[in-house]
Subunit: 153 residues, 5 copies
């Protein structure tokens, strides 16, 4: 079993490195990394990780800028990742950090690190232990921020 | 005949559990459940339920957050579900709860429970009794809120 | 030659029934009807009408609600209908009524009835008499409202 | 070599007729015309012109109305035209006139006539003389309005 | 190894020429150029550069105008480029200049020239030296503006 990790030089945080660090700390799965310039280059990189480097699941790490164009590129990235999943029959975890989602750089760092790590754990669970996710169904899990929890009667 | 149920850990309500409860109460159809982290993971999960676990129809249970990014992800989810349907030739009921559609958590719970249950009934009708839906054509059926009814002369 | 008619239980007007009524009044073509819950269920229903029930053309009758989510679902519906057409090589007339396009329910009824009937005539012309449409090219035809006419020098 | 021309009855200007007039005045290429009701019917018409009537290139003439729904339909049209091009391997010139882009009907007529004629010339160049376009690269060509020219140091 | 360069006559800067100049100055790779009218013509041009002229990677140079329609066309362009990449298994660098992203024409020139040149270097690295990009992962690289750098603790 092999995990793919795709990330960008556009990102202001080394998301791929964090992903690898988390993956190593929770598993002994091997991995392949593929770094591309920006988010619109990620879907084909992910597809290559699956088709050419035999990855069973991929964590795509995208950094979305602040402009309207960046928001539109986010849709394009995410539709591309959908297509890759449906063409290959593999899960791809589409992790994105939006530069405008936090108050300052410190918070952004905290959110990004936490989100990447949690999604690596999600990816490993999807691959090795899908029943664990079922137990968490409907519990308001969040990646990057605190879990918001289940709404209870 | 088998029904697939896909849901998320992001959801703040255990939509998958409600779906299973309703399915059991109105039919003896078997089912498969697949829980993923968030809505962008649903289309491939749905495709796997059809391709790998032989589901004849799938109920996809998505929870859409409040941000602009969540709205964009809703389009991506829904386009993904379209693609899955067209690629597999099977119906997939794309149930979504939007966190900002209700005044408070109590109403959100009521809407979510009702919407999931009604869509399970829709799925069973599509599978076993499509003529029943034809009789309801144009009658302003709503899932989650009260039916608004037919506009009459 | 067979005409497919797809409609929804979400609609507040029995668009499928109007379509059938018009089709019968202007032709002796046979038809198949398929009713689904909402607009996001229409593309696969249309594809099934073509693939499984041998329809040569389909009239898809969608009712679009008032919310932002409904607008987004309209894009999803329409992209789905594009994909079905390109996958099957058949025309699909994508008729939609937008709940917020008229002042009151009476006008909505008038618009909906008129639009469905005119598009049934368009579908029959595409199938049997395409040259008739060519004669109307550029004449500002509208379905649901009065034709606006050609802009003349 | 054959040129396809697709247009609509929704348009308020006979764009197809203008296209044919221009094509005849600058070339002796044969053509096929296909008129459909509205812009969402254009992609499948274009595909049929290529697949069933052997067109080597198609000029798709669309008229986009003033409402938000029309803007959304513009995206759908244009994505459909992309898909047709990628599925068939042929260029399709996606000409659109937006009803709200001009001050009055007179200007709209002028813009539409000019845009259609210039895009017919583009289509012929793509087919017969692609090097001519290369010479115009980066020169701020506009269709419908005056060329804006190259930005110079 | 061959590099494709696609650009437009709509652009107000000769982006293709800049790309060729940069490519020649940093490598001895051969190239093919394809100039089309506007951004919606780029995806099929890119596909032809890959399928018919054997390019291993393509740099798509698009110029996006100021209007809302131009923004929508940007989504269409970018989704088309995604599809080309996934259909061909090749990277396509989707370079775009947005006419409204700079204060004046002088700045626009500077941004465009810099962005095209940096993306040509990215393309060459993806082709010949992918490990170089990995070393730059998460360092906030920008094309057209100054790099913003990594966010550090």
């Amino acid at each position: 079993m092999k995990v793919g990790i795709a990330d960008t030089t556009f990102s202001r945080i080394n998301m791929g490195k964090i992903a690898i660090d988390e993956l190593r700390s929770i598993s002994s799965l091997s991995y392949e990394r593929y770094t591309v310039p920006g988010i619109k280059d990620l879907p084909i990189a992910v597809k290559k990780l699956i088709d050419e480097r035999d990855c069973d699941i991929v964590i795509s790490c995208g950094w979305v800028g602040r402009t309207e164009t960046d928001k539109l590129s986010y849709i394009v990235l995410s539709m591309g990742i959908q297509l890759v999943q449906l063409l290959t029959g593999r899960h791809v975890i589409d992790v994105t950090i939006h530069e405008d989602e936090a108050e300052d750089e410190e918070e952004l760092l905290r959110v990004a690190e936490n989100r990447v790590r949690e999604h690596v754990r999600n990816a490993v669970d999807l691959l090795l232990n899908p029943k664990k996710l079922e137990k968490l169904a409907g519990t308001g899990q969040r990646q990057g921020y605190e879990d918001v929890g289940e709404i209870r009667r």
